[in-house]
Amino acid sequence: MDRNKISKWLKNPGKMAHKYSFHVVYFCTGCGIIEIPPSITARWDAERFGIIPVATPRQANLFLITGYVSTKTLKAIIRTYEQMPDPKYTVALGSCPINGGMYYDSYNTITSLDKYIPVDGYIAGCMPRPEAIFIGVTHLWKLIDMDKADGYKRYREDYVHYRANQEQLFGELEWPPLFIKEIVK
């Protein structure tokens, strides 16, 4: 952890501040949300690293999807993700958002979340323990250091494809496109 290195702060304050101030929107889709309360309360205390839950996506910069994603909740996930201000990071928890997990053959579960919104990192496991969430956060720090946590940039660049995937699943979408220029191109 390089939170106390003044030289790094002077070099790139925005990046350092993003690393040590994760305001998180926890999306309670599945069983993973039960692992969150111990990690943010007295037992593991995520606030040591500046990680606190916030109530609205406007104030957040980390989106934690905790568990399987059904077709119905995917709509809410996309809308929440699009409301968050850039730069924003997404981390998916558990094996279900990766490939469907134990719901791999379910008719209403998304087998790959990465097709609909960009995911910066996965924490695998069924379910991952709170320690694994902290290891995931340290990996995210490394990714931010190397400029590889660029999901929000990918979403802008490949917005046509993401939107096409979303429309393929839902048919006509109820909300207007986020980046109109990219669609028109």
């Binding site: 501040a17 205390d45 606030e47 500046g50 406007r58 910069n61």
Partner: protein, 311 residues
């Protein structure tokens, strides 16, 4: 000296206000038996918010936030910090007027965002303001009637000669009443009604992101500074500490030590408020109104009667 006070006074208030936010998070964490974030965490948060891309909801949305921030800074110019007070004319009456600008600006801004949660938050904020303004006005009237002046600097100076007004018999009830409404002024529990994160998604701040959230956090820090420093000025004697600054009161060291004593008093009051914040749950709005219009109003009214009858 006069010009530098105009810059120094809001800057000091900003630093102390943000330090208070960090202290609040650290002390709350220690009460929960957690390790807690570093005390600089609000600074990190504010840098992060400024580096994020913000979404505006229109010109009133931008204007309201600037309006409330300006309101808070102007109030600070009228408040004596130690012996430093850039604007001294008008005194308590001006402060009473200007203190309403901050919630008004936030209300304008949140109203433009057209989010139902922020509308509920704003209505709760104004109801709470209505609740604490009645005892607040009675308290200020009692203080002004007791010292025969509306000037805050004059009140502090008289206290340095005759003892703190919290210790003097006629004003002790008003002091207790101010202490009882202080959590409502600061928006802390048990009066964390308008900014309740779990109920209404942090209320008026619900649509603020990026730099808007940063400015709203700064405004909140300044507001906390105003609420506590008014209490210290009115009832705890401002820069005075049992007359130990009497021999050096007009030198530069006297002024600096006066500011330090003032800030130490503020930190003590703030920590007591934090303990109250940690212990109590949140009131519902009608419970808060019932409480504010019963005990603090009664105490401040009796305090005003005592001052008027015995002077």
């Amino acid at each position: 000296m006069q010009i530098s006070e105009f810059i120094l006074s809001p800057l000091l208030a900003l630093i102390i206000g943000i330090f208070f936010l960090g202290l609040a998070r650290k002390i709350m964490a220690r009460i929960h038996w957690r390790y807690g974030p570093p005390i600089t965490q609000p600074v990190i948060d504010i840098i992060r918010m400024f580096s994020q891309k913000a979404i505006s909801h229109g010109s009133i949305f931008n204007f309201g936030l600037i309006f409330s921030l300006t309101g808070s800074i102007v109030v600070i110019l009228f408040l004596p910090i130690g012996k430093m007070c850039p604007l001294s004319s008008g005194g308590l009456l001006v402060i009473l007027y200007l203190m309403l600008l901050a919630p008004l600006g936030i209300a304008l801004s949140s109203g433009e965002a057209a989010n139902p949660n922020s509308s509920i938050g704003v209505s709760r904020k104004f109801l709470l303001a209505l609740g604490y303004e009645v005892p607040f006005l009675l308290i200020l009237l009692a203080v002004m009637a007791h010292y025969h002046t509306i000037s805050l600097i004059e009140i502090v100076r008289i206290q340095a000669n005759t003892g703190w007004s919290f210790g003097s018999l006629p004003l002790v009830l008003s002091g207790i009443a101010y202490f009882l409404i202080l959590p409502a002024i600061l928006g802390m529990r048990p009066f964390e009604i308008s900014g309740a994160a779990q109920e209404i998604s942090s209320g008026p701040k619900v649509e603020f992101g990026g730099k808007f959230l940063a400015f709203s956090t700064i405004q909140h820090a300044l507001h906390e500074f105003i609420g506590i420093s008014l209490f210290v000025n009115l009832f705890l004697g401002g820069w005075d500490l049992f007359g130990i600054l009497e021999p050096i009161s007009n030198t530069i060291w006297g002024i600096i030590l006066g500011i330090i004593i003032f800030l130490i008093k503020m930190v003590i009051i703030f920590i007591i408020e934090l303990f109250i914040n940690a212990v109590f749950p949140r009131f519902r709005i009608e419970q808060a109104m019932k409480y504010l219009w019963k005990w603090p109003t009664l105490l401040s009214f009796i305090g005003l009667l005592i001052v008027v009858l015995f002077n």
